[in-house]
Amino acid sequence: MISTSRPQIVLGLVAIAALLAMPWLVTSDYYVNIATQIVIAAILAMSLNVLVGFGGMVSLGHASYLGVAAYLTVYLTAHAGFGPLAGALAAIAATTILAMLFGYLALRASGLGFLMITLALGQILWGIAYRWASLTGGDNGLGGAVRPHPLGVDLMNPTAFFYFALIFLAAAMWLISRFIQSGLGQSLQGARDQPRRMRALGYNVWLIQWLSFVFAGFWGAIAGMLYAYYNQFVSPQTLHLTTSAETLLMVIAGGTGTLFGPIVGAALVVILKNVVSAYITRWLMLLGIIFVTIVMFMPEGLVPGTRRLRGIVRKRRGSPTTPALPVTEERPT
């Protein structure tokens, strides 16, 4: 359940104000671009959180929607003669249809099986992008996308593109929170906690989870479309397991099942990745170490975890914490 307390609302308003003022606070394009990366990652992480946090369905293939939408956007606009708007819409629609198919397949299982199927499907997509070189450019990736000029605004300007992406983040925040509070979102959380009871009450748990899966895939596609226009280039790395894992890390780090936690998680991961990559090339190892550390020592996520640690220091007494990783349901045999 979402509880928006007063400090949280204040914190949220401060964060939004800071984001809006960002381009005035920092003058360097480098930082504006990092902020744009955070915004795109935040949309992707929020969409994954619908599955992981509110649905209890841990997907290790969420890069699929980012990557497929990005590939399609670049391919359609730069190589198939689509206009920027038509190309983006077609890419998002096609990716959402793909999410319908993948959701159908992955929801044949639950818990660990769901995770395995999403991972396998995602890696097969990566294999296609990597090996079908005549279509996707293979390892070299696909380039040539040009940022559009909506309403005469030149999005080649980093600050303009930042605000462009921010509009989508605001829409995602609003619509995803509406989704979570809607009847469908509430029954999704019911299906996470008590699937058998929900079934007994007459809810179609499968349909609820499938619709949520498609909804998450749709927002993943939005992130992919933005990614394509931001980089004007897409490579198989977008579809790789490490991208899915990074996104999952954003969700876990921010605290699963909190509406805006994934935004914080996205900021942490993107900043860390940029800072680390500036000094060493061992990002993958660091990613692995962070995963192991969080799971072993901070299973409830970085943000709630630090809050808990602070609470312990203040009160010298830890409150019972609930692990944020959803417990997978064993199917009755």
């Binding site: 397949l105 660990l112 995770l115 396998a120 079908w132 061992r282 799971v295």
Partner: protein, 286 residues
């Protein structure tokens, strides 16, 4: 005609390698309910360790032993100090194995650099086997032989030995097996080490065919997942048949439609998940 025979044998050889990898993965998942996402990394690390052993002057056969042994020791450490501390939290265990897979993958690039390295073939198995106009590498026939022998041995171990009976009981119903007095806490490390050893030794064995390169882990892991989804959880027969199916599909696919070889991998998954979500030989839905 020749084409179909040769590609069929290639598929059989690739399926054999997959079986060596997937049988351990499937056993671990079946018994311990751990999706060991490090399994592909174990395979790659085993191959690199074997390669270094060969570089140091030992024979190919000893290198296979060293590769298997090294990875089973690594598996034992990970099982004892990480996975056991997270017992009862399947999701946490999966994420830890994913993290470990990344650490191993990056460490391999660090130690062995990013260039693909072929593992030298043992001299006694070099050359080709000829029947009329067909020529087929002896080494691949040997790999096929190894996999069939392994399948028979594992079958015997699982179906005919006391240890196997305990493992099967644990796969079918863990809490009931515990209630009957089977000490599953002793079975877990045995199975995890066995699976790890198979992955490590399989990596060395695959070296002369696939060679070793960064990314071998994430190339093989999804195939092992597909095999298990196809064959059914914890089913040895399922892993065997699933491996051969994927081996054939992959081999013929790459020969006939090189661009689409990966697209075709979707097909068996779509079919099995739609028609029989338990997998071909599984008893419970995954």
């Amino acid at each position: 005609m020749n084409f179909w025979v040769i590609q069929g044998l290639n598929g059989l050889a690739f399926g054999s390698l997959l079986f060596i990898l997937a049988s351990g993965f499937s056993l671990i998942f079946g018994l311990m309910r751990i999706v060991n996402l490090s399994h592909g990394a174990y395979f790659m690390l085993g191959a690199y360790v074997g390669l270094s052993a060969i570089d140091a002057g030992v024979s190919f056969w000893v290198a296979i032993l060293i590769g298997g042994l090294a990875i089973s020791v690594l598996g034992a450490i990970i099982e004892r100090f990480i996975l056991r501390r997270l017992s009862g939290q399947p999701l946490a265990q999966v994420l830890v194995t994913l993290g470990i897979a990344f650490i191993i993958a990056d460490a391999c690039v660090w130690i062995w650099t990013g260039d693909p390295r072929p593992v030298p073939m043992p001299r006694e198995l070099a050359g080709a086997f000829r029947v009329q106009q067909l020529a087929f590498p002896i080494y691949r026939l040997f790999v096929i032989g190894v996999a069939f022998t392994l399948a028979a041995t594992l079958w015997f171990l699982l179906e005919r030995s006391r240890l196997g009976a305990m493992i099967r009981a644990g796969v079918d119903d863990l809490s009931m097996a515990r209630a009957m007095g089977i000490r599953t806490s002793l079975l877990f490390p045995v199975v995890f080490c066995l699976g790890s050893a198979l992955a490590g030794a399989g990596g060395v064995l695959a070296g002369p065919i696939l060679s070793v390169y960064p990314g071998l882990d994430t190339d093989m892991l999804p195939l092992a997942l597909v095999v298990v989804i196809l064959g059914g959880i914890g089913s040895l027969l399922g892993a065997f048949i699933g491996s051969l199916i994927i081996g054939f599909i992959y081999s013929y696919g790459q020969a006939l439609f090189p661009d689409l070889a990966y697209v075709i991998l979707f097909l068996p998954m779509v079919l099995v998940l739609t028609l029989r979500p338990t997998g071909l030989f599984g008893r419970q839905a995954i």
